[in-house]
Each structure stands twice: as C-alpha cells, then as structure tokens.
C-alpha cells in the first residue's frame, strides 16, 4: 500500500499550472512551492496535487493582520520571504484586508476597512496577531486609533474563523511579558480566551511555517494538529537538538568552549556555550531561515530557545547551560554552589568526626570492653 502510494505519479493539472504562469509564477516554482509545503506539513507526496488544487480554489480567505506590542520582526520575516515567491502567493493569493505596515490606506480609512472586513466576513476571516497585548491599567500601554489593543483583539479575534499568533510575543507574551512585565503583557490566547488560536512562536516566526499553516487551512479547511502549547506539531514536534547538524559532535563529545576557539571553527557542538537546542522545539534545523539559507546554530551561535514560553526569563543567561540559582550572586553557577555545599558538608562532618573521636565515655558500654593481650 505504502509503496504504491509513494510511486503514484504526482500530477498537477495543466490548467492550474498555466493559470499560475499567467500570474507570473513559473510552473517549476509553483510545484516547488507545493512540494515544500507538503514536506513542511509532513504529508505524503500524494498530497501535492491536492494542495495545488486548494490554492487554486476560489476561496481567497480574507486576512486581518494586527500588530500590538511587537517589533515588526514577523512582518519583516514574511516580507523578506521569497521561497518560490511565497510572499507573492501569500500576499496576492490571500486577501489582506488590513496590515498597518504595508497597506496603502491610513487613518480613519484604514480603521474603517478593518471593521468593514470584520462585519463582511464574520466568522470567515483569518486574524493574524503580532505582538503581545498589555492588560495592565486598562490596556493603556498600546492603543491603535485610540482603541486599546485588548479591545481591538477582542473584536477582531472574537469573530475570526481562526487566529494565528505569529512570533513569541503574540504566542506567549514574549519580551514585553518578561519580568517585571510592566505593561501586564499577555499572549493573544490569554487576552481573548474564546478565540481559536494557533501559536507560531519564534523570534521572529519562520515565514515558511506561517505559509504552511495557511496552506493547511486552505487544503483541509481546518488548522493543523497542535501540542499542549498550541503550536502546530509539524513545526514544533521535534527538538532543535534532535535535528541539529552539530549533533554528531555532541554525541562524540566535541564542544566549542569559547567563540572562535578551534572547536568552534571546526563546527563542534555549542552545548557548552549555552545552546538551548536540547530544550527547544522548533524546525529551524530543517526549514532554516531566509529561504533555507541558514539558522543560528549553523551560523555558529547557540540556540537561545526563542520559541519556548517565557524564554527571556527562563532560557537566560543565554551563554550558560543552566539558569542562575536564585538568591546567589551573578557569578554563582549551580556547580559552584553545589561544590561549596559538598565541601562545607565534608568539613562540618570532618570536624564533628574529630570531636567525636576525641570524645571520651560516650560510646556504648566502654567500661565492658575487654582489651586483647
């Protein structure tokens, strides 16, 4: 069965290919795009035609892209993407009703477009959220056209078919939510508990994963399967460490000890430089960034765990393997404290031992001991 499925020819109808060519996307690039998406979603090749058809369907989903407490890095990641014209596909194919960074409209006109779209496509559009939502002090720390981020999110995400949280800030609160979190920043799923949210964390998110989620939605009419943190399994189902190209050096026992040392220059594992790959779930090693050009570990820098919840607080210090032990100085590592503790125990018991050895008359029935000749 398996084999048959594998060998069945993957045929995308000539019609579809020609339509894309008419739009200026050559068939090679279009097919490449469909197969990249199929692979990213971990689907069998036989799904390529289905995906190609889905993209052809006359169901351009309206998209409202909102940005709150973020750095626009996710927008940038998407705009810079040109994996077989992914940007073209996404931006041309989707009907982007609102996106502050790239839309032509401004001011009242733009705000009107947003709420018109919410009305017109109620329950049908996709909301994309970038950045976290401040809850403290009535949400005054982030307002758009005089309206708090929280109110906007409630209105827009509340009646969306699905909300995609792009980037770590929207997915978990991210850097704005890092201690002491002055604005009371939270993720979109916490801000609007009723919304159907899928999280695509990462700093920035990987645009290919966003494209794949949308393609999945168009092909199957629903969001892909997620894990307990609301992340799609196809992209966050494996640790960085388990797909890392430096893994053989990890297993061998070859580690760079400082940046630029011989080990580092030879591409050894970055574990001792604080790499958080062993505790971070993301498909960076396989999908990479910027059209598969590179990703942090490939470029020689350890993973900082940017796609994990509360990474700024829990994954730091970024150049140490373990967090600092609370209550001890900046330079104290768990090992130094542990060694100190063990040494102190040894000294204390050693002293007790000396005292006990010199102590007379406390042993059991010393008077009855018979000395040997």
């Amino acid at each position: 069965m398996q084999k048959e499925q594998y060998q069945s020819p993957v045929e995308v109808s000539e019609d579809i290919l020609q339509k894309w060519e008419a739009r200026g996307v050559n068939r090679r690039d279009f097919l490449k795009f469909c197969s990249t998406m199929t692979a990213a979603l971990a689907l069998p090749v036989s799904f390529i035609p289905r995906i190609a058809e889905a993209l052809e369907g006359d169901n351009r989903p309206p998209v409202i892209w909102m940005e709150f407490q973020g750095c626009t890095g996710d927008t940038e990641a998407l705009l810079r993407a040109n994996q077989p014209t992914a940007a073209e596909l996404i931006l041309d194919y989707l009907s982007l009703e609102y996106n502050e960074t790239i839309m032509a409209a401004a001011g009242h006109q733009a705000e009107k477009a947003k709420y018109d779209a919410v009305e017109k496509y109620k329950g049908k559009y996709i909301a994309i959220v970038e950045g976290s939502i401040p809850m403290a002090d009535g949400g005054v720390y982030c307002t758009v056209a005089g309206e708090s981020a929280l109110d906007v999110a409630r209105k827009v995400c509340g009646s969306a078919a699905a909300t995609i949280a792009v980037g770590t800030c929207a997915a978990y609160g991210g850097i704005p939510a890092a201690a002491p979190n002055p604005t009371g920043a939270v993720s979109i799923s916490r801000a609007v508990p009723g919304a159907t949210v899928i999280n695509l964390p990462g700093c920035p998110l990987n645009a290919d994963n966003l494209t794949a989620v949308i393609v999945h939605y168009l092909t199957f009419g629903r969001l892909p399967a997620t894990d307990s943190f609301g992340r799609p399994r196809f992209a966050y189902g494996k640790r960085i460490h388990d797909n890392c190209e430096r893994r053989s050096h990890f297993d061998a026992g070859q580690y760079a000890e400082s940046f630029g040392d011989p080990g580092h220059r030879q591409g050894w594992c970055l574990y001792k430089l604080g790499c958080k790959g062993p505790q971070t779930y993301h498909n960076c090693p396989t999908v990479r960034y910027n059209e598969g050009t590179s990703w942090p570990v490939m470029a020689g820098h350890g993973c900082i765990g940017c796609s994990e919840p509360a990474f700024w607080d829990t994954m730091s210090p970024f150049y140490r393997r373990l967090p600092q032990v609370p209550g001890f100085g900046v330079e104290a590592t768990a090992d130094k404290i542990g060694l100190g503790l063990a040494a102190a125990t040894a000294v204390a018991f050693g002293a007790h031992g000396v005292a006990s050895a010199l102590r007379k008359g406390d042993a059991h029935e010393t008077d009855k001991v018979k000395e040997e000749e």
């Binding site: 026992g253 080990g263 406390d362 042993a363 059991h364």
Partner: protein, 218 residues
C-alpha cells in the same frame, strides 16, 4: 547476653547497594552531562553518547530498585516499614529524634542505642527518598523530551508547563549536589555509629545482622 538479630532483610540490603551504585554512577555521568569536561579527540568517538546511555540504563535500574523498596515499605519488618521513616509522627519517635539530636550536638553524652535506624537518620532518609523521587520524576521528564507524545512525556511533560524546561533541568542538577552532600553525611554517620554503638552497624548492611544486648534496649 548479646543477641544476634536479623535486622535488615535481604530486599533492604540489595536495594540499598543497588541504590548506592546507581547514585554514584548517575552522579558521575550526570555531572559529565551537565559539564562535559573531557573533550573527545576525534569525531568517531561516542563519549557523550555512552555517558548518556549509561545514565539512562542506571536510571531505569535505580527506578526499579526504588519501586521495589517502596513496596517493601509495606511488607518488610518494623525497621524497613514506612513507619520507621516518619519518626516525628509518633511520640516515641519524637523523643528518639530529640535524644539523637542532643547526642550529635554534644549536649548529651549517651549514644542512642537502637536496633534499626536512629530516629534522626530515619527522618533524613525520608527527605532523601523524596529527593530520589524528584530525580526520577525530573529525570524521566527530561528523558521524554526527545519524543513528544511518548510515555514519559505524557506523564511528566506537564512539569515543563509548570516549572519551565530550564527550571526542571536546574532542579535535577541541584538535587544531585544535595545527594552528594547526603552521601558524605551518611557515610560519616554510619562510621560514627559503628564505633560508638559497638553493635556492627557497618557490617549489618552487608550481612543484615546486628549484635544487641536486650538489656540495653530497655
């Protein structure tokens, strides 16, 4: 007259020594995992691979041994029973704890003379048992990370949501040092009691026998 008493039944002795072996191996391999101080000369080595493999094999052995010992808490003799490990719950136990404390702090001269554990040691063992369980739970949680949805990930994975993944790692790491501290204390106390009680404390964990004078227990 001295009596030969069979105090530590064989499951107690076997699990004791398996635990001791496991803790030494797990601490040594664990510290290497935490800080790989030896670098392999060539990429065809498999140093970390083996160290982690050994850590996991002994982790399973340790877990099985702990489960066996926990079962024995309910079927073993009075010295192996769970009741021996919560001396603070009984008035006699509280008295013994206080007595032992006074002996250790040089306030009282008379060495506590008991058949099984001295009460203070028994209280320390319940803490150590708790630390063992912490190591097993955090260890298997970390182990499960390689495969989300695997058995270990399903049962212990929720810990990461509560304490974060680096928090769980740090706990596993810090508890190792606490156990090293315990080992120092444990060996010292056993040695001290062997000398002062003169009833074969050290050999009893090999043979199971202690030599007691029933008169002195009164």
């Amino acid at each position: 007259m001295l009596e030969i008493r069979y105090v530590w039944e064989w499951p107690v002795r076997i699990t004791h020594w398996i635990n001791a072996l496991c803790i030494v191996v797990l601490a040594v391999t664990g510290i290497y995992i935490g800080n790989p101080f030896l670098l392999a000369p060539s990429p065809d080595a498999f140093v970390m691979g083996w160290v982690r493999f050994i850590h996991y094999v002994f982790a399973y052995l340790f877990t099985v041994s702990m489960v066996a010992r926990i079962i024995w808490l309910f079927i073993g003799n009075q010295h192996a029973s769970w009741k021996a490990f919560v001396p603070w719950a009984f008035s006699k136990g509280r008295e013994n704890m206080w007595g032992t404390f006074k002996y250790y702090t040089f306030i009282e001269k008379k060495v506590p003379y008991v058949v099984g554990h001295n009460a203070l040691a028994a209280a320390a063992y319940s803490l150590v048992f708790a630390l063992f369980l912490v190591q097993i739970v955090t260890g298997f949680a970390l182990y499960g990370q390689y495969q989300p949805g695997s058995f270990w990930d399903v049962i212990f994975g929720p810990l990461f949501g509560l304490f974060s993944s680096p928090g769980v790692r740090l706990t596993h790491h810090v508890v190792t040092w606490l156990l090293i501290g315990f080992a120092i204390h444990h060996i010292y106390s056993a040695w001290l009691m062997d000398i002062k009680e003169k009833n074969g404390t050290l050999s009893s964990i090999f043979s199971g026998y202690k030599f007691m004078n029933p008169e002195d227990l009164k």
